[in-house]
């Protein structure tokens, strides 16, 4: 997608002008900054019913709308809507495309005002904290002092943790799902494989491919294929595909997509490149690699939450090997160490990391119960309107 196409995307935008630059962790003052976002439901009189939803690495702010590029339903359509768990009749939901993204918020494909050319790899390296800084500006824009909740899975969960840690007075509750307080060595390793696939594509051209009207599609597709495997589980892959052959009765003694699982991955890769920018992929995976909440607090994760009044609900999934349960448990231990208010559920699922995006009744019951309890403590009306 080109910058021009990006501007045609539906949804709302907040522009931070040169008078209000975003101070990034790397020291750069970034301006102008566009934050593309969607909202659902309406704000109550005292602005106490706002929930910020944070999307994952390749997600976007089209939580409950058809995706304008793929036409597919919103990624959390199961959860967001009237009468649903994230009830648009009761809550004001906000989701913004992350800083560095490619769905309308400022990222490497935007024009660098100093050169008049796309930023490409001259875009400053951003962090999870920077993404959250941009969200803070958006929340300020709405005049919201305190979010009722910040909810996110995977990288979205990192943002929820960052919010709760850095802005504890502005968050009533936080729900970090299938996430970790730091990217593990294994996660960094997976991310690096993806980046190297992009960098190795001759069409990458040191990141300047937008200037040459080309795209490192093969590299980005391989990055997506490798990453996609980490989002599933062995059991899920086996159930879905087994060793079934793709449109043939016998193996071909060649390197075509003999197996259904190969065909599936190739499809995942090839459709991904239509909706995602390779440079954005580099920047956002890097932001995840750099995330280490304990390191930001003298090596003690508990220090990130000392004195916190935030109500936490930590959720993990048994078959998630990208953000396995011990990562969530480490967060729980740190929260216990400061006597924080925390719930923690490990949901039994064989669907791997992606379970947080899927229909998992136990996960939904947990999220619903937690939010109902939190709403009661926040003084928000209950589900039946009482």
């Amino acid at each position: 997608m080109s910058p021009n196409q990006q501007q045609d995307l539906p949804g709302q935008r907040l522009v931070l002008g040169p008078d209000a630059p975003l101070r990034l962790d790397c020291g750069v003052d970034l301006a102008p900054v566009t934050i593309a976002y969607q909202t659902y439901g309406s704000m109550n009189a005292d602005k106490s019913n706002a929930i910020l939803i944070c999307h994952a690495l390749t997600g976007d702010h089209y939580v409950a709308d058809p995706n304008p590029v793929t036409g597919k339903p919103g990624w959390w359509i199961d959860l967001v809507g009237p009468g649903k768990i994230l009830d648009t009749d009761r809550y004001f939901l906000i989701c913004s495309n992350v800083l560095g993204g490619c769905m309308g918020s400022t990222g490497p494909m935007d024009i660098n005002p100093e050169t008049g050319q796309p930023w490409c790899l001259n875009f400053p390296v951003i962090t999870i904290a920077d993404m959250v800084r941009a969200q803070v500006r958006l929340v300020d824009h709405f005049g919201i002092d305190k979010l009722f909740s910040v909810i996110g899975g995977s990288m979205g969960g990192m943002q929820a943790l960052e919010w709760a840690s850095r802005y504890p007075d502005r968050v009533f509750s936080a729900v970090p799902i299938a996430t970790a307080a730091r990217h593990s060595a294994q996660n960094i390793a997976f991310a690096e494989v993806g980046r190297q696939a992009i960098l190795a594509d001759p069409d990458f051209m040191d990141g300047d491919y937008p200037l040459h009207d080309t795209k490192p599609s093969r590299g980005l597709a391989v990055a997506r294929m490798a990453a996609h495997i980490t989002y599933l589980s062995e059991a899920a892959l086996h159930r879905k595909f087994g060793r079934n052959l793709q449109g043939r009765d016998t193996i071909t003694y060649g390197f075509g997509a003999d197996f259904q699982v190969e065909s599936y991955l190739r499809h995942q890769g090839s459709t991904f490149v239509d909706r995602f920018d390779a440079n954005s992929y580099l920047y956002i995976t890097r932001a995840m690699d750099y995330f280490d909440l304990a390191a930001d607090h003298g090596g003690q994760l508990a220090n990130a939450f000392r004195g916190t009044k935030v109500r936490f609900c930590i959720i993990s999934f048994t078959s998630d090997w990208l953000f396995p349960t011990p990562e969530s448990r480490a967060i729980v231990h740190a929260l216990n160490a400061v006597a924080a208010n925390v719930s923690f559920v490990e949901v039994e699922s064989d669907k791997g990391h992606d379970a947080f995006l899927l229909d998992e009744p136990e996960f939904h019951a947990t999220l619903s119960g937690f939010l109902e309890g939190a709403a009661e403590h926040r003084g928000l009306p209950r589900k039946d309107g009482i």
Partner: protein, 203 residues
């Protein structure tokens, strides 16, 4: 959650807790006591439960509960973080009851502990008469599938408290017919009581 059916020992525990206090319920199950305390005593309540099924049910009911183990996870909590730490019908299932008891009174200003009394006359008589491990209405497991690995009698528990310098502020014991006796430390209690509830404090 259905409170009228709350276990009688839970009701006795609830009665010992001051309204508005901070409570940690270790081994909270599905959170029946916590839910009661939240609603009727406005406590700031948290729970720890070993079984994930219990945790899921509690959290789905809006309670702040985590999956955890009394033997290993209490060490994370800071000293004096709670007004009360409750351990109901769980002490006998821990690997190291003495250390757990110490942790309860480190984390909480007070601890409320309930446990089945192995000195109950039916238990004593059962073992004496049949030569088989006792199975009663409060001790429902067979020896091979019981989670209860550290049984004690009321007299044992009182002795441990004395040894650990723990003051018994209040103690209640329960007969099988639900009769409450108001001094579990009394000599008859150890014979007549099926279970006991102790309110403890560091001496």
């Amino acid at each position: 959650m259905n409170h009228p059916s709350m276990r009688i020992d839970l009701q006795l525990i609830a009665d010992m807790i001051e309204p508005g206090s901070r409570v940690l319920d270790v081994g909270c199950g599905e959170g029946v006591l916590l839910d009661y305390l939240n609603r009727f005593k406005q406590v700031d309540g948290r729970g720890v439960e070993l079984s994930m099924a219990g945790v899921r049910s509690a959290v789905a009911h809006g309670l702040s509960v985590i999956q955890g183990d009394a033997d290993t996870d209490l060490k994370d909590y800071p000293s004096g973080a709670f007004d009360y730490v409750v351990l109901s019908q769980t002490l006998q299932a821990t690997r190291n009851p003495k250390l757990v008891l110490r942790d309860l009174l480190r984390i909480g200003r007070r601890a409320v502990v309930s446990f089945p009394n192995f000195g109950y006359w039916k238990v004593r008589l059962g073992l004496l008469a049949t030569g088989r491990m006792p199975v009663t209405s409060t001790l429902t497991y067979q020896w091979y599938d019981t989670p209860n690995i550290h049984f004690c009698t009321i007299a044992d528990f009182v002795a441990l408290c004395a040894e650990e310098g723990i003051e018994v502020e209040k103690s209640l014991s329960l007969n099988s017919d639900g009769t409450v006796r108001f001094d579990a430390g009394g000599r008859l209690s150890n014979w007549l009581s099926e279970q006991a509830v102790f309110l403890l404090k560091k001496a």
